[in-house]
């Protein structure tokens, strides 16, 4: 049985999601006004990355079980 690609993929997106979200909460809000039309894209997409990573990771685990 080979390594299921969803395992590293899930972990990668979970990690990136956490980094983005944490940075989104701690960074200076001014950078969002300057760049992304005032939206805190780091929090928003950090959550998307996290949820995507969690789903993929869960699918890999479920198949293994």
């Amino acid at each position: 049985m080979q390594l299921d690609v969803r395992l590293p993929m899930g972990l990668l997106f979970l990690t990136l999601g956490v980094i983005l979200t944490v940075y989104g909460f701690t960074s200076d809000p001014a950078i969002y006004a300057q760049h992304s039309l005032g939206e805190n894209v780091n929090i928003r997409w950090g959550i998307v990355f996290f949820v995507f990573g969690a789903i993929v990771f869960f699918l890999a685990k479920k198949k293994k079980a």
Binding site: L37, V41, R44
Partner: protein
């Protein structure tokens, strides 16, 4: 790399640009995390790697969706992300023809009709199929040209990445080359093709999730698609309405050469015969998965214009609105290769900026890795095992594959420096690749669907088809161009509205002459394969693969029809 993208290729991305991205520590952390995963995958996979089949063919064990994303990821290299955005800014939504006409129909065709022969025959590579079907010399010709083209393509990819990073981050060119080759080297050495494919899957999702926010924010900023339509000339936001004649659209092409030159000859020539992509499908665990690979890949492929072309059109809308500029290219006009970096810099704060940059680097590296894995397989199986050491042990072949990976990357790096020093050499090579690719599909088509095609027919048809492409190029020229690398070096006999039009017509001419010559030479020579030898290699002598018992969405014919229908709908929406 698709040769027909040559025009949009960022050979010297952003020379002398003044656009800089300012990275923060969070961006470096994101980049480091990604590289750790890339290398980690290779490391974990190393223990599954035992035989040459594991190293070169992933042991034919992967599920269809993984192969499909690898299939699309290997193709989603430097040329695509940077070049398609540049074309979007130059030609507008018409660039989507490279997808909806120039990719999807061929991907459906290869999955439904051709994969049974590639996967079903005992061939381990596309050149090896040519050997079984035609003869040794046809294989040799294809293997040698393919091997040369892949190392050079990977070198061009490396050069594009390094010069882009130099321009936007002020990094050191040499370090960019060394580090990107080392990372690719390590994960291929440890995990072989599986490692390359897994990383292509990761990279696919990174690109989608990394560029989607960019497109969404940009689109919101310009007032949506309708806001864009109101800002731009109508021929930039309609894909077919202005294809009636060459003067009315920015590409300078008309529908006939578009449909036949791009949609039939060039597109089928790439998607149905290029081992770089076919190798991904051949790694699938069974026949049905192999056939579904290009069909599943076609689903994201048809939606990609939104990710890679739309940024170019958005940039154009922003320029029209004012307050947004692109760095200047050498000729004084805006440097469209800088569309993606400029948008990243405008819309992404630190954090997302790291993601965008990671996605960009991932796309360059997987393009490189795709070329390198295809190169080491063709070299080891089709050249080394066939001509140098026919009775090599399996263990020996894996060693050769590993050494070839190292050598291939060193040659690629050499090509990168060559491209940096002599831009013309690269233009010339891409031109020659175009000559080689143009007639290719004619030989495969006749080989697979006409059992009378012979070895001599295939070989000389291919050779003379390439020669006729070169002659066509020597006799034609885009309007206003100087004779030489653009064409007309024999005599500028036919003048085309654009080099794209010249390219499409050259493909049509090369295909037609290769088709006629292969057929004529085959009829004039005696068949060199018996019906028995051709079983599994030619349509009329091969049992149709059964899809009995497969769920409807796993049946190639159903999947293929749905993909074509959806593509038709997209064409109508953006007509």
């Amino acid at each position: 790399m698709i040769p027909l993208f040559a025009e949009a290729a960022p050979l010297n991305a952003a020379s002398g640009s003044s656009l800089f991205l300012k990275l923060a520590s969070v961006d470096y952390i994101i980049l480091a995390v990604y590289f750790a995963f890339v290398l980690g995958i290779g490391w974990v996979l190393r223990k599954y790697l035992k035989t040459s089949a594991d190293f070169f063919e992933s042991g034919r064990s992967l599920p269809a969706w993984v192969c499909a994303l690898g299939f699309i990821g290997a193709n989603l290299g430097a040329q695509e992300v940077i070049g398609m955005a540049a074309s979007g800014a130059k030609y507008g939504i018409s660039t989507s023809h490279f997808y909806w006409i120039g990719a999807i129909p061929a991907m459906v065709f290869v999955g439904i009709f051709m994969m049974p022969f590639y996967y079903g025959s005992k061939a381990r590579s596309v050149p090896e199929y040519l050997k079984l079907r035609f003869d040794e010399k046809t294989r040799g010709l294809n293997a040698i040209t393919f091997a040369i083209m892949t190392v050079f393509s990977s070198g061009i990819s490396m050069h594009a990445l390094a010069s882009l990073l130099v321009a936007i981050l002020d990094w050191n060119y040499n370090w960019c080359i060394v580090i990107s080759s080392l990372i690719v080297l390590i994960y291929i050495l440890t995990g072989g093709l599986t490692s390359a494919i897994y990383n292509e899957v990761l990279q696919f999702f990174l690109i989608v999730l990394g560029f989607l926010p960019l497109v969404l924010i940009g689109l919101k900023d310009v007032g949506g698609w309708h806001g864009l339509m109101s800002k731009l000339e109508p021929n930039m936001t309609h894909s077919w309405s202005y294809m009636g004649n060459t003067a009315s659209n920015p590409m300078g092409v008309e529908w006939f050469s578009l449909v036949f030159g791009l949609g039939f000859v060039l597109s089928f020539g790439y998607w149905c015969t290029d081992f770089l992509v076919i190798q991904r499908a051949m790694a699938a665990k069974d026949m049905n998965s192999a056939r579904c690979t290009p069909l599943i890949a076609a689903i994201p492929k048809m939606l990609f214009p939104a990710l890679v072309i739309l940024p170019g059109i958005i940039a154009l809308g922003l320029i029209q609105r004012g307050g947004f500029t692109l760095p200047h290219a050498a000729d004084g006009g805006p440097d469209f290769n800088m569309v993606v970096p400029a948008l990243l810099s405008k819309y992404f704060p630190n954090g997302m900026l790291g993601i965008g940059l990671t996605a960009l680097m991932a796309s360059f590296m997987s393009g490189m890795a795709g070329n390198v894995t295809a190169f080491n397989t063709v070299w080891t199986y089709d050249l080394y095992q066939s001509y140098i050491k026919p009775n090599a042990t399996d263990h020996h072949l894996v060693t050769v594959g590993r050494v070839t990976t190292v050598v291939g990357l060193i040659i690629s790096a050499g090509c990168a420096y060559l491209a940096r020093e002599f831009n013309n050499i690269m233009d010339m090579l891409q031109l020659v690749f175009g000559f080689v690719n143009a007639p290719l599909f004619a030989v495969f088509l006749l080989g697979m669907f006409w059992k009378r095609a012979t070895g001599h027919g295939g070989f000389f048809g291919l050779l003379l088809g390439t020669v006729s492409a070169a002659i066509f190029h020597g006799l034609s020229i885009p309007a206003g161009a100087l004779t030489g690398i653009k064409g007309g070096w024999i005599a500028p006999h036919w003048v085309f509205a654009s080099s794209m039009a010249q390219n499409f017509w050259m493909a049509i001419a090369a295909f037609a002459s290769c088709f006629i010559l292969t057929a004529a030479i085959s009829l004039a020579t005696t068949p060199n394969r018996t019906d028995d030898q051709l079983r599994g290699l030619v349509y009329s002598l091969t049992e149709k693969p059964s899809t009995e018992g497969a769920a409807w969405y796993k049946r190639p014919a159903v999947l293929g029809s749905l993909v074509l229908l959806a593509t038709l709908v997209l064409n109508i929406i953006f007509w």
